[in-house]
C-alpha cells in the first residue's frame, strides 16, 4: 500500500472518523487497482468476489435487460463505496461497472468483510448509511420516472451530474467525464433522439452548451427551475 493511497484514503468521508491505526487495519486486506478508461470494474452476472472504494475517477453502472436494453443506474464518484450492498447474500453482481475515465479504486476480497467489520465497527454503520442513502436516491428516481415528463427528467439527471461531477469552466459547469446523449437517454428512460432534441432546444435558449461527448451547463439556476416547476 503506497503512501499516496493512505493520504488519499484519509481524506475520504467514509474513513473520516477513523484513527490512523484503524485506517491501517482497514487497508490491511486491500489492494489499490488502476482501471483504464473503458475497462470494466465488475460485470453483471459475474461472481461477486470483491467490494470497492473509488479513490479517483468516475464509473458508470449499467444494468442490461434480458431484451438487451441498457439502463444507466448511476455514476460512482470518488469516496464512494460500491459493490458492497449487493453481495451480502447475493452471489453475483447485479450490474456492470465501467470506468469512464482512468480510475483508481481500493479493492477488498468479499471474504474480508466480516473480519473488517469486527475490527472496525464504524464501517458497518458507514456502509448502512451509504446503502440507505442510495436507496433513497433510487426511490426518488422511481418517483421521477412515474410522475415527470421527459424534459424534466433530463433536467434532473443533468443537475445530478453537475452536483456529482461538475467542473467549473469558462462558460459554466461542465460534466467532468465524457458523456454521450445516448448515456443521458439511458439515465432517463428515453431515446437518444429525444435527448438530442431537448438539448438542442436548451442550447437555443442559452441554458446549456453541447458538444461531442460533452455537456456544459451555462445556467444551472434556470435549469433547476425547469426541473422543479414545469
Amino acid at each position: 500500500m503506497a503512501a499516496l493511497d493512505r493520504s488519499l484514503v484519509s481524506s475520504m468521508p467514509i474513513f473520516a472518523g477513523l484513527g490512523p491505526q484503524q485506517i491501517d487495519e482497514a487497508l490491511a486486506d486491500a489492494r489499490s487497482v488502476r482501471f483504464p478508461k473503458g475497462s470494466p470494474v465488475f460485470e453483471q452476472g459475474h461472481e461477486a468476489t470483491s467490494f470497492f472504494v473509488l479513490l479517483h475517477g468516475h464509473l458508470q453502472v449499467v444494468k442490461l435487460t434480458p431484451a438487451g436494453q441498457q439502463v444507466v443506474v448511476r455514476y460512482v464518484t470518488p469516496g464512494e463505496m460500491f459493490g458492497i450492498a449487493v453481495q451480502m447474500g447475493r452471489p453475483t453482481y447485479p450490474a456492470t461497472a465501467t470506468a469512464v475515465v482512468d480510475s483508481l479504486a481500493l479493492v477488498w476480497p468479499s471474504s474480508a468483510w466480516p473480519d473488517l467489520v469486527s475490527r472496525v465497527p464504524a464501517l458497518a454503520a458507514s456502509a448502512l448509511q451509504t446503502v440507505g442513502s442510495r436507496l433513497n436516491e433510487a426511490h426518488q428516481r422511481v418517483v421521477e420516472m412515474s410522475t415527470e415528463e421527459v424534459e424534466r427528467r433530463v433536467a434532473h439527471a443533468l443537475l445530478r451530474l453537475v452536483k456529482q461531477a461538475g467542473r467549473k469552466v469558462e462558460t459554466g459547469i461542465q460534466i467532468d467525464f465524457p458523456i454521450t446523449r445516448q448515456d443521458v437517454a439511458e439515465m432517463t428512460g428515453t431515446t437518444l433522439h429525444t435527448v438530442s432534441r431537448i438539448l438542442s432546444a436548451w442550447e437555443d435558449q442559452g441554458l446549456v452548451e453541447g458538444g461531442r461527448q460533452k455537456i456544459v451547463v451555462k445556467d444551472p439556476h434556470r435549469l433547476f427551475a425547469l426541473a422543479e416547476r414545469g
Copy 2:
C-alpha cells in the same frame, strides 16, 4: 412484552440466527404497537423517531411529490424491517407508511439502534442485507420503468404482489389485502383508467378476476409469460 410476541418474533427470518437470550436483548427497548386499518405508521417529513419490524398485517409505503401526486413505493410484509435505512443520518421519514389492514409492529426508538447493534452484532448484517436487497428491488423498478411498456409493468407489479401477499383461494391466488386500481396505477406510473382497461382485457382472457378492491390471479404462469416476453 407478551409471550405471543416472543414466539412471533422468533419465527421471523431476521431474528432466525439469534438465541433466546439475544432475542430478549433485542426486544428490551421495543414496544409492540397495533395499527388499525387506515392508520399511519409514520408520515413523510416527520421526524424519524422510530424504526420497526412488521409482525402482522400489510403496510403501504407512499411518496408524495411536491405537485401532490402519489407514488406507491412498496408494500411491507410481515417479518420485514422498515424505517431503518432511512434514518441513519437522515432526520425525517422520506415517505408515508399506512396500514392497509389491521397490523402489528415492533417499535424501537431510533436512539436504541447503536446500543442494539453493539449487543447483537448480527443485526447490523441483517439490516445491511435487508437494505441491500431493497436497493436491488428499487433498481429493478427503475429498469422496468425505463424499458417496459405499461402492460408489462402492470404484470410485473401484480406478480410482485402475488409473491409478497398471495393467498390461495378457490379460483386462483388473491392479493391478501384491499387494493384499488388506483393503487396499482400508482405502483406502475400510469393512470387508473389504463389499469382498469388492462385488467378488463385480462379478465376477458381469463387471466385474472377483478372485483371491488380485489384482484385474483387465475393464471400466474401466463401472467409471468406476459411480463417476461412481450
